[in-house]
Symmetry: C2
Subunit: 192 residues, 2 copies
DNA sequence: ATTCGATCCTAGCACTGCTAGACAATCAAG
DNA sequence: CTTGATTGTCTAGCAGTGCTAGGATCGAAT
């Protein structure tokens, strides 16, 4: 049995290597540079090996997205924990979200911009994605206001953050006012 | 001179045909189906003809984006005009925006999601894009609230709309609550 | 040592955006 | 009217993409 176990372990290691390499390459040179050939070369295996781990490029993107979702959830919870009071928590959460998007643009794209073949707002939504939403909900539910469904409020707040993140990074919004926009978002949306 | 004029006219007609065909194809089968070969076949010319009008596929996307921006600006103004009072105008504007995004997903993608090689938030931003933002500003400026820069407020509101539009269409938000989210967005952000 | 099955790679398919060079139609000059 | 040059357009092809069939190779079990 030990032989088979070792093989499975090695396969798992290689799979993580693929995901990590794809992420690094995407973060350095953008997703358009992540081709199956380049990726195969980096991990020092041939192309078909990739397809023994993933159905295709989409699934690799999806794997990066899941990894990112877990990290984002952790970052959001850490930021919320470090702040005192509802209003400060929400502001910290918002900044942490936008910070994550700015520091990990490729991962953020994998999560929300590209097609990673993942289900959303659905029963089949993978756990890390549901958990990332839950991390938002934990803090934002406190400030939804009277008679407003916490989940609905969270969705709206999230949409605001997502819009700010994508439009800013795409050069659609002047970056210098980013902080003022966050302040306004929190002030208006959150009921404290 | 007349001969040259006729030729220029014909060229202009063909250019509009290219853009219209690209848009239609994208709207019907998605942008990934818009290949230079297919596009060339549809307009009944060879591929290189496309490159005598546009530098490449990006520029074709950009042309569709500009066309869409002009239409969106008109739709936003029409919606705002038809409503009475600041609050109703803002709500109508928001619905018109989301409606445009939903009815013209490919065009919306060309404008904000894909790389059409267009400048933004910049001096070189093409007129139709600046005008679409202006259309938002006209209505939203009224409800920015005391001491809040109208342009900054418009950017935030726009980000909210953009987030709702993209997350909903990507299946990240349950579509059935769309209207309630718009209501909440308007109620919270707009100061009436 | 030999079989046999899992593992991996070479080679190739059909497609992409884009372009060089050949060709034909059109025009101005003699 | 015939040239010659200039447009305009097309055929053919390049380098790259995601993905896969089929054969070679290696290691484990007999």
């Amino acid at each position: 049995m030990s032989v088979q176990e070792r093989k499975e372990r090695e396969r798992a290691v290689r799979e993580r290597l693929i995901v990590a390499t794809a992420r690094e390459l995407a973060e350095r040179q953008g997703w358009e540079a992540v081709t199956t050939r380049r990726l195969a070369e980096r991990i020092e295996y041939s192309q078909p090996v990739l397809y023994s781990h993933f159905r295709g490029k989409r699934e690799i993107i999806g794997a990066v997205a899941l990894e990112g979702a877990a990290e984002m959830a952790a970052a959001l919870r850490a930021a919320a924990r470090a702040a005192d009071g509802p209003r400060a928590r929400v502001a910290a959460l918002a900044r942490a979200y936008l910070d994550f998007a700015e520091r990990n643009p490729a991962v953020y794209d994998a999560m929300f911009q590209l097609d990673g073949g993942l289900a959303f707002a659905d029963e089949e939504t993978p756990e890390p994605l549901k958990d990332a939403f839950a991390a938002l909900l934990e803090t934002l539910g406190e400030v939804a206001g009277e008679g407003v469904h916490p989940a609905l409020f969270t969705e709206l707040f999230w949409a605001g953050l997502h819009g700010l993140a994508t439009l800013t990074r795409a050069g659609r919004l002047p970056p210098e006012d980013a902080e003022r926009r966050v302040e306004l978002l929190v002030d208006r949306l959150a009921v404290v």
